[in-house]
Symmetry: C2
Subunit: 257 residues, 2 copies
Amino acid sequence: MCELLGMSANVPTDITFSLTGLMQRGGRTGPHRDGWGVALYEGRGLHMFKDSMPGADSEVARMIQGYPLKSRTVIAHIRHANVGSVNLANTHPFVRELGGRYWCFVHNGQLNEFAPDPGLFQPVGDTDSEAAFCYLLNEVRRRFPDPVPVEMLLPVLVGTCDHFRRFGVFNCLLSDGDWLFTFCSTKLAHITRRAPFGPAHLKDADLTVDFKAETTPDDVVTVIATEPLTANETWALHQPGEWKLWWDGEIVTQGRV
Amino acid sequence: MCELLGMSANVPTDITFSLTGLMQRGGRTGPHRDGWGVALYEGRGLHMFKDSMPGADSEVARMIQGYPLKSRTVIAHIRHANVGSVNLANTHPFVRELGGRYWCFVHNGQLNEFAPDPGLFQPVGDTDSEAAFCYLLNEVRRRFPDPVPVEMLLPVLVGTCDHFRRFGVFNCLLSDGDWLFTFCSTKLAHITRRAPFGPAHLKDADLTVDFKAETTPDDVVTVIATEPLTANETWALHQPGEWKLWWDGEIVTQGRV
C-alpha cells in the first residue's frame, strides 16, 4: 500500500508543510520505503520530483523541502511496493499528455489480475497503478477523441474507478492542473483551510505551522490524504465509493457509487 | 535561439561538469535567460528538472549541481525564447510516452509558419519546438503503430527533421533512454571521452575536472552540445544535414541529408 497527498487551492500555495508530514511516513513513521514523488503544476506546466529512495532518506526530498515551490494543484505519493519492483519507472505520480494537457495520477491500493488490452497509452513500468492510469486515459480518449469540459468526463472517470474496485483497492487522485478528481475505495480524508486560519501540528513530525502568517483572508486550500496529516484539526473522512471534483480548493461536484 | 546538451554513455555518468558549463550560458556568459531543463534517464524512468528562471539564477539548478545524479542518457536545454512566452509549459525538454517508453526531446532553432494539423500527440505549450516534437511522434506512430527497433525508425526521424528545415533552423536531440538521435541543421558538436582520460577545462566557468579520477578504463562517454563546452579538447563539429544515432556513447549509424 501507499500514501497519497493532493492539494487544490485558489492561490499558489506552499505544500512543504504537508509534504514534510508525508515524507516521514516514507521509512520513518511509516513503512513506505519504496520511492516517492511529487508533481506541482505551474500554469499548464508541471514540476516533477521523484526518487526511488525512501522519502525520509532522499536527497531530492530534502532539497525540495528547503525550496518552497508554490502551486495551486499538487499530487504526491510515497510508495510501499506490492506490484512491480522498486525503480524510478514504477514511482508515482504518472503523467501523460492528453488533449494538450498533462494529466497526473497517483494510486493507493492493489489491483489483482488486472490485465487490460494494450491501448494508445501504455505503461512504461510494470505496476498495476500505471496500467490502470493508462486504461483510464484510453477510456477517456475512446469516448471523447477531442477535449471536453471535465463535467462531461465524470461518468467515465467515476465508472472506470468503480470498475477497478472489482479487482481490489483503488483510492486515487487525478488532475489536469486545473481540476482535481478524487476517488475513495477504502480510505481518503480531506481538510479545507480558510479564514480564520489557525495553527496546525503534524502527526508525523514535531512541526507546527501558523497558517495565519502564511495566507491572505481569501485563500482556500484543501489538502487530501489517505490518512489525516495533522493532529489538532478535524479531517473529513471519505466513504467507500465517494468521489469528488475539486477546483480552486472547493468541491465542484461530488457523489457516491 | 537556445543551447542543447546531450550525453550518451556506457555507464551511469555524472553530468554535473557539463551542466555547470551550460548553465553559465543561462544569463551569465550567454543570453539564454528564459528557462532551462534537464532530463536524466534512470532505467526506463526519467528524472526531470525544469525551471522558467535563468539557469545561472535558478535554485533548482543549484540544487542539482550539488546532487550528482548519474545517468547513461541525458538531455538538457537552456532557452532563449523566440516563439512562445516564458513559462514552465514552454520549457524544454519535452516528454511523451510512445509505445511504453518515455521519449524526450530538445530543439535549437526556430520554425516559421509551421502549423501542423492536430494529431494524437498535442502540444501543451505554444512553442514551435513542442509542435515539431508532437508532429514527429505523430509521424512515427502513424507509420509504426507498434514499437519497432530504432533502426527502422531512422528514415522517419531523418526525413521529418529534414522536412522541418524548410521552415527554419532545426538542431535537435531525441532519445527513448537507450538510443540518442541527433540532427544538425546549423550547429552541433560532440566529444567522445575514453581511456586514457585527461583533464578538461570549461570555457564558461573556471572549472577543471580530471576525468581520470572519475572514470574506469572501460568508460565511454559522449557529450553533444550546440557549441563546444571545453577549451582544451577537440570537439567534432557536425555539418548541416548530418545525423547520428548514439548508443552507449558510440555512434551506431550516421548519415547526411
